[in-house]
């Protein structure tokens, strides 16, 4: 948060940067003094953390697996699968926490909170435990998030005389508050052996603790039966208290009151409880273990509002909303409180698969799940490396995913051909032909700029971009005219069917073929090809002169190569060419010398053609005897 100093009369101005906003104080006046600072605000900073990267990658894996769960099974069969996926997500969060612990990173506390919320959502929404099991799950939840008890217990047990350690009774009470009665009994046993005189009352306490009933969801006992049993036990404990059985030992008497769920006693131990939700669960454990999910919110409200142990934080309101089974509120509060969309996107997606979200459409067309996933994935796309993950997320947003992907994929920087090919493959797999063309064109332009004509041509062939192929072919032809030889023969010789992409390209290929035939002394075929290049109008008019000049050596051969008909056609081409050249036109700045050269060429050609025609007529008219 950015705080303005002395906010009276001051405003905040901003300007968009590249991926960030610049925020500054202003008075909106021409003069005056103010803060000289400009703040840069960026979103999605978290994605650059190397350890959180593990979170993003592994959760991506889980996400894709979730999307491919078969739809045909009824929802209730899928519940164990969803619970297991929820646990997978949580274990990834925990794995990250462990790594961050080592580096003393402050993000740990955020991850702790996230895991706490997720765990509660899993218990209440996904697992949807009914009365009886509900409390057991909540107990697990609390135990999982209060690790200091075990640390303290370890310290106590490792000391010389555990029963006399100053934290001894704290550990015992903590165990009881978390319903870990076996461990409490073991601890008590140590004290009992030290004070044989009080053996009786320790035995009595041990007895009470051992007899506390816990609901067994897999067992044959019904909830009502359990309730009856529990009330019996509760009355027995109450009797012990009324009889002052534990009056001689203040600690045991406290334990007894806790077992009865006495509110004041519990409050006295708020340091050991630490949080209001621990207080809530402990209260429920000892007052109302058969609590129903629908009753939870009442108890939560009561316990929270009167017993806040610290200033209210966003985490508290999120947990309260969860206890009230208000999923949308949970998601909303989390979206505001957290600075990264990861949590809400994945949780909402999972809840959506459990069919727990009412599908009310948001104003901008998509539903909540898709909106959050799109936001998350868009953030990922700005990362130089994690963009590949985002593609899968877009794939599973059915309404707008494709559009988002189309817009974003073109903005991935393409430094190497290898990366460009990867991006292309993604586009080709999804039939995004426009993006394919666009990327190929970018690569082709870059190659062209660096004078890599072969590379540029192969990119435009891949894009099936006829216009560009024509452009490049022109360059090749210009090079030929300038140097007299072809460059990059390896490419032109092996165009194959790609030659047909553009007329100019076809001409280039065929022209090269002509040269090859000539080089192999297959003159008749070469001649035929040369002629067809002009008559079939494959060759551009500007190139005809060159072609005709190429025909000269063929006309000058001793042996007749061009037949009479072919010679007529050549003459026709020459006349067509010269007539268009003679029209008064552009090249008025042609020097006299150039014009002379042109005229000489034409004369030479006419001569050669006539001579060839004569020889051809004679040859064809001769009857072989």
């Amino acid at each position: 948060a950015i705080h303005l100093q002395e906010p009276e009369g001051k405003h905040m101005g901003f300007a968009w940067g590249q991926g960030n906003i610049f925020v500054y104080e202003t008075l909106f006046k021409a003069t005056g003094s103010g803060s000289p600072f400009i703040h840069e605000v960026r979103k999605d900073e978290d994605i650059y953390s190397p350890i959180l990267r593990k979170l993003f990658n592994e959760s991506h894996h889980i996400f894709v697996g979730l999307q491919t769960i078969r739809e045909d099974l009824p929802s209730k069969n899928k519940k164990p699968q969803f619970v297991s996926i929820s646990k997978n997500y949580r274990s990834v969060i925990r794995a990250c926490m462990e790594e961050l612990h080592i580096s003393l990173n402050p993000t740990v506390s955020i991850l702790l909170a996230i895991e706490l919320i997720w765990n509660l959502c899993e218990v209440l929404f996904i697992d949807a435990a009914p009365a009886g099991s509900l409390l057991l799950h909540l107990l697990d939840w609390v135990r999982l998030h209060k690790a200091d008890v075990d640390e303290k217990a370890r310290d106590v047990l490792q000391s010389d005389s555990p029963a006399e350690h100053r934290d001894y009774w704290d550990v015992v009470v903590s165990y009881v508050l978390q319903g870990r009665l076996d461990e409490a009994r073991q601890m008590l046993g140590k004290k009992a052996t030290l004070t044989p005189a009080a053996n009786n009352i320790f035995k009595m306490m041990d007895n009470l603790l051992s007899k506390m009933p816990f609901y067994n969801p897999g067992g044959t006992q019904t909830l009502t039966e359990f309730d009856v049993k529990w009330r019996h036990w509760h009355e027995e404990v109450d009797r012990c208290l009324q009889d002052n059985s534990f009056a001689s030992n203040q600690h045991l008497e406290v334990l007894c009151k806790i077992l009865l769920g006495d509110e004041d006693t519990l409050l006295e131990h708020k340091d050991l409880l630490g949080t209001w939700y621990h207080f809530l669960v402990s209260r429920l454990l000892f007052c109302h273990p058969t609590v129903k999910p629908t009753e939870l919110h009442y108890y939560a409200q009561v316990n929270y509002s009167t017993k806040t142990l610290s200033a209210p934080e966003p985490l508290d309101s999120i947990l309260l909303a969860a206890f009230e089974f208000d999923i949308h509120q949970v998601i909303k509060d989390c979206s505001i409180a957290l600075n990264n969309w990861w949590f809400v996107a994945h949780l909402t997606d999972l809840l959506d698969h459990c069919k727990l979200l009412q599908s009310h459409n948001l104003h901008f067309g998509s539903n909540l799940r898709e909106f959050l996933l799109l936001e998350y994935a868009s953030g990922l796309f700005t990362h130089h490396s994690l963009w590949q993950l985002a593609v899968d997320y877009f794939d599973h947003c059915l309404e707008f995913g494709r559009v988002y992907l189309e817009l974003q994929i073109e903005r991935v920087p393409l430094d190497t051909e290898r990366k460009a090919l990867k991006v292309l493959r993604i586009c080709e797999q999804r039939q995004m032909s426009e993006q394919v063309r666009s990327i190929c064109k970018i690569m082709a332009m870059r190659a062209l700029r660096n004078n890599r004509l072969g590379s540029a041509l192969s990119w435009s062939i891949r894009a099936k971009d006829a216009a560009f192929a024509t452009l490049i072919s022109e360059r090749f032809l210009q090079d030929y005219c300038a140097k007299g030889t072809f460059s990059d023969l390896d490419l032109i010789d092996n165009l194959g069917p790609a030659m047909l992409l553009s007329d100019r390209l076809t001409f280039l290929g065929k022209y090269r073929e002509f040269h090859k035939l000539y080089g192999e002394k297959r003159f008749k075929e070469a001649a035929k090809l040369l002629l067809s290049l002009m008559t079939a109008k494959i060759a551009p008019r500007s190139f005809w002169m060159t072609l005709l000049t190429d025909a000269l050596p063929l006309l000058e051969q001793k042996e007749v190569i061009f037949s009479a008909d072919q010679t007529y056609e050549l003459m026709f081409c020459l006349e067509e060419l010269t007539s268009s050249l003679n029209t008064p036109s552009s090249d008025s700045d042609k020097s006299m010398q150039e014009e002379d050269v042109e005229l000489t060429k034409v004369e030479l050609l006419r001569l050669a053609l006539s001579r060839n025609l004569a020889m051809a007529i004679v040859k064809e008219g001769t009857v072989e005897t």
Partner: protein
């Protein structure tokens, strides 16, 4: 079934290579190198899968790779090859070719040689796409269509074949000690005889 170990390393890896062991030792190699790509800061790293210290199972499973050392690398690592037991060469997307030395005693990596513009365009960088080594000779190819021959002990390039290919050369390998084979982006294999001074391949094969 053999165990498959997966370890997350927070970077995209482009190449992994086992470190060659001496011919006399009959053991499997235990050390390997990796090169990363598509990161803001790429690096070349050395890992080990042997149980080095007597830490028992505390450091993870047996066979879990442990990072020994790493060195930053400018640009994506497009290829990585070992020259001999201690030296490895990397091809970078910036067009640079670098020889690294791994010191097993101190677990450090140092740069021995760095040819910054082995491959380039007249006014831009051209990625060096692949390389192959036959100590002390190194042959590299790149998007600029050039084949460059280096020697590990010499400063400059020994031989440069300009315009060896009109399109990008994707990979190179030795056929014999004096002949290399390259492949380009339009699917042509070209055979080059390095003994000859000509700038054209001795054979072109296309699919």
């Amino acid at each position: 079934m053999e165990n498959i170990n997966a370890k997350y390393v927070s970077q995209k890896i482009s190449k992994t290579r086992w470190c060659p062991v001496s011919y006399s030792s009959l053991q499997q190699p235990e050390v390997f190198a990796t090169g990363s790509w598509d990161n803001e800061d790429n690096k070349v790293s050395i890992w080990s899968i042997g149980n080095h210290n007597n830490s028992g199972l505390e450091d993870g499973f047996e066979g879990d790779p442990q990072i020994l050392c790493e060195h930053k690398h400018g640009g994506d690592v497009l290829d990585l090859q070992f020259l001999d037991q201690e030296r490895m060469v990397s091809a970078s997307s910036t067009g640079a070719v670098t020889i690294f030395r791994y010191h097993p005693n101190t677990h450090t990596i140092s740069v021995l040689q760095h040819w910054a513009r082995a491959h380039s365009y007249p006014c831009d960088n051209a990625p060096c796409t692949a390389l192959v080594c036959s100590s002390p000779e190194i042959v590299t190819v790149g998007e600029d269509g050039r084949i460059v021959v280096f020697r590990a002990d010499q400063e400059g390039a020994v031989r440069v074949i300009e315009n060896a290919d009109s399109s990008t050369i994707h990979a190179v390998t030795y056929l014999k000690t004096t002949e290399v084979l390259t492949v380009n982006s339009i699917g042509q294999l070209k055979l080059w005889d390095l003994r000859q001074q000509s700038s054209s391949p001795s054979q072109i094969l296309s699919l």
